[in-house]
């Protein structure tokens, strides 16, 4: 298994006739993602590669059984496109775009909740369940199927870390980019809940940064008696307070949002926090073997 995305997802691509949409279709199909439809208003009847184009999500769903959408339209059009996908009944909608007004994300999240859909993003690399399917532009060679669930606030950092995991022989069940914005389609808490319920996931690696409050969810989860092992890397110990480090949410606005405070909070909740990128793999391994010992103790 995996979370949100596996071989069963039937994917439609909004904005499929644009440059990113076209490139995605080629790259994702190569990876094995089941891309069944494109959507581009006014362009129905066209084709992108082998993928038929429809004028609306509803038409695409009816014709192809698509149940998952990835949105490649300009920031001003993202909300409209994603709401269309959610309300047409898609179970998963991936928004990679950054520069989305936070109010649009707020509206998106409210609609997703009301319709029982999952949204990944915005400002996210997407989601990949290695060996099954990917929805995003992550470099495929960095990933390998396995039992580590990865949650990341940052795209390239997740590529880097997953490559290290893969080189160390630790495959991933699903890697979800929750995105760098303050409001998230899927929060760390929600992703943790999904990984907790996924039998294939044995441990979770959380890749966080300074700013925001996402890390408190991770600590909260790790403190549960039934939690799976959690390791984390929090970047930005060299970031100054009060300055936005690229991501809208990566800004130390209060003491609790600093690197030191987050690491302390997470460690006291039982999260294995790496001191840097270089010991991230070992930290995860330590979390796993600690988890295994705990399980043996419990069994004994």
């Amino acid at each position: 298994m995996s979370i949100l995305l596996d071989r069963t997802n039937r994917v439609l691509v909004q904005g499929v006739t644009g440059q990113m949409g076209t490139y995605f279709v080629e790259d994702a199909c190569k990876y094995g993602t089941t891309v069944v439809a494109g959507v581009s208003p006014g362009r129905d009847g066209a084709k992108v590669g082998d993928v038929p184009v429809f004028g609306s999500v509803r038409a695409a769903r009816e014709a192809t059984g698509a149940d998952t959408a990835i949105v490649f339209v300009p920031p001003a059009a993202v909300l409209g496109g994603a709401l269309e996908a959610i309300e047409a009944g898609c179970r998963l909608v991936v928004v990679t775009a950054d520069e989305l007004p936070v109010l649009d994300t707020i509206e998106l999240k409210a609609a997703a909740r009301a319709n029982g859909a999952a949204v990944v993003g915005p400002n996210s690399p997407g989601i990949i369940s290695p060996g099954k399917a990917k929805l995003g532009f992550m470099p495929s060679f960095c990933y390998m199927q396995g039992n580590v669930g990865v949650i990341s606030r940052s795209g390239s950092l997740s590529y880097e870390c997953c490559k290290r995991l893969t080189l160390a022989g630790m495959g991933q069940s699903t890697v979800i980019g929750i995105g760098g914005d303050p409001v998230k389609g899927t929060t760390a808490a929600e992703a943790l809940g999904l990984f907790h319920d996924d039998p294939e996931t044995a441990a979770v690696l959380y890749l966080g940064e300074i700013g925001g409050s996402e890390e408190s969810f991770v600590a909260e989860y790790a403190a549960r008696p039934d939690a799976k092992p959690v390791a984390a890397l929090i970047v930005g110990h060299t970031a100054p307070p009060g300055r936005k480090m690229g991501h809208a949410a990566a800004l130390i606005g209060s003491k609790a949002e600093s690197h030191a405070a987050k690491v302390a909070m997470m460690r006291s909740a039982g999260v294995h926090v790496a001191s840097g990128l270089s010991d991230m793999v070992e930290t995860l391994q330590a979390a796993l073997s600690h988890g295994m010992r705990a399980a043996q103790d419990a069994a004994a």
């Binding site: 007004p101 707020i106 999240k109 590529y159 880097e160 060299t238 690229g246 003491k255």
Partner: protein, 375 residues
């Protein structure tokens, strides 16, 4: 993007929230006429916090004191920032100071309202404010906030005023694309009036396409930047200057911070956060970054660190080849490219004699060595 205090107060005034009647002066305006009564507060208009503790608010009891305050404040930097304007307001006869804010908070999937019965300068030291999670702005409920405030604010008449004000603030935040409106102190004057004595407003820069005021703020921010930085901002690069000497040209906020941290962990000192991922991968994108860092005398080494997904590495490598060929500066550049199509990089790099490090650790160690650090 943060508004200056006087901009924030003008915005509050436009939605019917009472603010002190203020007068804004710019450098060179001299001492204004038409001040009806003294004392007045002279307030440095800067974006950095802690202005009050740094002497950025001066009480002037008469015209000579006002003139002196104006001269002094325009000549002072607060958190490295010289005031572009001063706000002159009547010195308020404050009876009570409270705290009220409305802000985007991920835990609420939208907005929260925060209130503290004790506001003012020491707000961060006191008990944490009461928190009412709103979420989407249309989910604000007067009775929800009332319930949240019952424990925090015993005076029911004041409570009702705060609730009405919070409702106005939520609506304002939603309609103006604001991520924070903080009123601290929210003051009762001795005559009973409720006044936003100080205000901090942050707007969502990504709403620029539908909000001309925000668009103008963005443009003004670029204009305030030095020309070389401005060229970078025009390429959508995100830049924060740090204290060190090892500059980064990087991709992705998380990876940029990871590299900064690794530099420090190796005994080096990062010179900046510079995320070039939103810009083009052509030379047009990277050229302004090199121009700025090459001209910066504090920068000794440049570390190019990009791990690309949608960003294709052969394109980045080709851009580097071109830029290295045309570049005048002799500052050493260390490369670490990885990600999509990285297998094409060594061939391209060989053509201009550059080396691409396979591991970030090696690239960082090299950069720290070149900067003369301990590693």
């Amino acid at each position: 993007m943060m508004l200056l205090e006087h901009e924030a107060k003008q915005l509050l005034d436009s939605v019917g929230i009472q603010v002190p009647r203020g007068l804004v002066i710019r450098p060179g305006d001299g001492t204004p006429d038409g001040i009806e009564s003294y004392p007045v507060a002279v307030k440095a208009q800067v974006r950095s916090g802690g202005r009050g503790k740094q002497g950025g608010i001066v009480r002037a009891g008469d015209r000579p004191a006002l003139a002196a305050a104006i001269t002094r404040l325009f000549a002072t930097a607060f958190g490295g920032e010289r005031p572009e304007a001063l706000l002159i307001e009547p010195w308020l006869a404050i009876e009570r100071e409270t705290y009220l804010s409305v802000a985007v908070d991920g835990r609420a999937d939208g907005y929260v309202v925060m209130y503290s019965a004790r506001g003012g300068v020491g707000i961060e030291e006191g008990a944490p404010p009461v928190r009412y999670p709103v979420g989407a702005p249309w989910n604000f409920r007067v009775h929800g906030l009332r319930k949240a405030l019952e424990s925090a604010e015993p005076d029911y008449q004041w409570r009702e005023k705060v609730i009405a004000l919070a409702q106005r603030l939520i609506r304002t935040a939603a309609m103006r694309d604001l991520t924070t409106i903080e009123i601290n102190p929210l003051a009762t004057l001795t005559d009973g009036a409720l006044v936003a004595a100080d205000a901090r407003v942050v707007c969502d820069e990504w709403a620029h396409f539908r909000n001309k005021a925000i668009h103008a703020q963005r443009e003004a921010e670029k204009r305030r930047a030095e020309p070389l930085l401005r060229d970078c901002l025009n390429m959508q690069h995100m830049y924060v200057r740090l204290d060190g000497d090892i500059a980064l040209i990087s991709g992705g906020a998380g990876m940029t911070m990871a590299a900064m941290d690794m530099i420090a962990d190796c005994g080096g000192r990062p010179a900046c956060f510079l995320d070039c991922s939103p810009g083009p991968t052509s030379t047009r994108g990277y050229r302004p970054a090199f121009a700025m860092l090459d001209a910066d005398p504090r920068v000794k080494v440049i570390l190019v660190s990009v791990f690309g997904g949608g960003t294709q590495m052969q394109r980045v490598a080709n851009s580097m080849k071109e830029i290295m060929a045309e570049r005048k500066s002799r500052k050493p550049v260390v490369f670490r490219l990885d990600g999509t199509n990285v297998d094409q990089v060594p061939g391209i790099f060989a053509r201009f004699g550059a080396h691409n490090h396979a591991r970030l650790e090696d690239a960082v160690a090299e950069a720290v060595r070149l900067a003369g650090g301990r590693a």
